[in-house]
């Protein structure tokens, strides 16, 4: 149903758009808000889009390439490495990455290396390999290079958690100028604002890009509990204790033997 509605919006938008540029992107999302409730086990965001050419632009023979990236809210993460000390494994060296996306998904119509040049990937920070990894001031360098062991471990662990993901052939073209892709959002995603960026390429050159936003937020009871725990810790703690004593008392009452 949402899919249908999105298609409908898309067609309406396509008709309305009359800007005088060679190629234009029109993008619609299956949802602009994801709500985390008690039965949340992850979801999927579908990104639809159309490539619009004005009448003056001749139809060219090459195929279009589309790259869709979704970036989660930035976070500060410590990556720690364990080392052996007198037979025991303990955390020793660490590196703190600041302002790093908590979630990062890249879907493209072909592998990124075939879509465009490394220079463009680097310039627009497309793909986990080309993200800038700023390091906190105390750790020496300003940002971690691609071959940094901590950076590689960070990306690998994020991938294991399903929070960093790539699909090299994830963007499909149902028509020559219409594309769609689905991005899986796992259940452990952080809440916040997610930025969806769509890039249009042809022949390695970027023709257009479009940015939109998704909000992922906890709803109802989950939101209430989380806010209470973080803003009113004392009240939250007291509620937990009262709940615990009540449960204990109730059990004693139900199972009373004498």
């Amino acid at each position: 149903m949402t899919r249908f509605a999105a298609w409908f919006t898309l067609c309406a938008l396509a008709l309305a758009a009359t800007q005088a540029r060679a190629e234009q992107l029109i993008v619609a999302l299956s949802a602009e808000e994801v709500r985390i409730t008690s039965n949340f086990t992850g979801t999927s965001i579908t990104v639809f889009g159309a490539i619009e050419r004005d009448a003056a632009t001749v139809s060219r023979a090459e195929f279009y390439d589309v790259v869709v990236s979704i970036k989660g809210p930035p976070e500060t993460v410590v990556t720690r490495r364990k080392d052996r000390l007198v037979g025991i494994w303990l955390n020793s060296e660490s590196r703190t990455f600041v302002n790093i996306p908590s979630f990062y998904a890249v879907n493209s119509s072909r592998p990124l290396s075939e879509v465009t040049t490394p220079q463009i990937l680097k310039r627009f920070q497309i793909g986990a390999d080309d993200l800038v990894f700023p390091v906190s001031a105390g750790d020496g360098a300003q940002s971690a290079g691609q071959d940094d062991a901590f950076r590689q471990a960070f990306v690998r662990l994020k991938q294991q958690d399903g929070l960093y993901r790539t699909e090299a052939y994830g963007v499909k073209f149902p028509g020559t100028e219409i594309f769609q892709t689905a991005v899986q959002i796992p259940a452990n995603v952080p809440v916040g604002r997610y930025v969806v960026t769509v890039y249009l390429f042809r022949d390695g050159a970027m023709l257009a890009s479009d940015q939109s936003e998704i909000r992922i937020s906890k709803m109802g009871f989950e939101q209430f509990t989380f806010d209470l725990a973080h803003n009113q810790g004392l009240i939250y703690g007291l509620i937990c204790v009262i709940l615990a004593v009540f449960t204990g008392w109730l059990a004693g009452l139900i199972f009373r033997r004498d």
């Binding site: 086990t41 930035p74 993460v77 720690r80 052996r84 725990a229 004392l234 709940l243 449960t247």
Partner: protein, 309 residues
């Protein structure tokens, strides 16, 4: 059925968590211990972060120990004055423990210290309990009566100043060892998410010579009080108590405990202690293996609080 935990920020299978609570509750009812030392590791092994596991188990211990404490209170098997001194010093201990907890979390050594403490205390207590219960079993088989505990016997703990009279326990002892025990259990409890009953009960019996019929009720009051304060402190300073997780564990735990207590009434004391000792040792060894074995992944990530959320 999957349920999303608002503080742990992950979905878990409700029935698995409920089952864990029930199984640990059964064992705690069987052996007369809080069960925190089993529950926290179980939660950690099932993927919940140590910080949330410890803090949420703290709330669960309040439920299970208060449930049992009410029963002992009805039977008048509690020394309220002794419990009061223990709780007061336990509160001091919990505050220190929660402070250490926050500090270690910032340094990235929380998991290590939790594991080291588990290895040390579980190994020590498990080992002592096992040797004691085996000796008791051998004595019972040979038909020798168990060595009688002479109630008049004093040790070094009785020579200290600041004496206080505890009528219900028929004791006249210094408050120094009582406060020391209370503070120590408070620190351990909030740091490890355990009630500390398996340390407190032997300490009260062997160090202070508290009569055995009073000891369990009194230690339950101490656990309820200390862990209640620890729960509040954990939620004010670390925000890691997951109410939903704790509630599922509580309900499972109190139900399991009732069945455990019924089964426990039919098993001989020394056999029960030997089984508990093996269980305690087993958990300790598991932690030890994890410490010395080369980990599957040398790297780990920790999100620093106070960002976008």
């Amino acid at each position: 059925m999957q349920i999303y935990l608002p503080i742990a920020e992950m979905p878990v299978n409700m029935f698995i968590i409920f089952g864990m609570g029930g199984a640990v509750g059964f064992l705690s009812g069987l052996f007369g211990v809080g069960g925190g030392f089993l529950l926290t590791p179980l939660l950690i092994f099932s993927g919940i972060s140590p910080a949330v596991a410890v803090a949420s188990t703290t709330a669960q211990v309040v439920a299970s120990s208060s449930s049992a404490a009410i029963t002992y209170y009805r039977r008048r098997m509690i020394d309220m004055k002794l419990a009061g001194v223990l709780v007061a010093s336990g509160v001091v201990g919990s505050s220190i423990g929660v402070g250490i907890f926050s500090l270690l979390r910032r340094w990235g050594q929380l998991d290590l210290v939790i594991a080291l403490c588990y290895v040390t205390f579980l190994g020590l207590v498990g080992g002592l309990m096992l040797t004691e219960s085996i000796r008791a079993m051998i004595n019972a088989r040979k038909g020798r009566p168990a060595p009688l505990r002479r109630p008049g016997q004093h040790n070094w703990a009785h020579g200290l100043p600041f004496k206080m009279r505890f009528k219900r326990s028929k004791l006249y002892v210094s408050v120094i060892p009582i406060i020391a025990i209370g503070v120590g259990i408070g620190i351990l409890g909030s740091l490890l998410g355990i009630g500390g009953g398996f340390i407190l009960v032997p300490a009260l019996i062997y160090l202070l010579r508290v009569p055995t019929n009073i000891v369990i009720g009194t230690s339950l009051i101490q656990m309820t009080g200390t862990m209640a304060v620890a729960t509040v402190l954990q939620s004010t300073s670390n925000h890691t108590v997951d109410g939903v997780l704790a509630l599922i564990l509580m309900v499972g735990g109190v139900i399991g405990a009732q069945f455990g207590a019924r089964v426990g009434a039919h098993v001989r004391g020394d056999q029960l202690r030997a089984m508990l000792a093996l269980l305690v040792l087993g958990v300790g060894i598991r932690f030890f293996v994890d410490l010395v074995q080369t980990p599957a992944d040398l790297f780990s990530l920790a999100t620093l609080a106070g960002d976008t959320r």
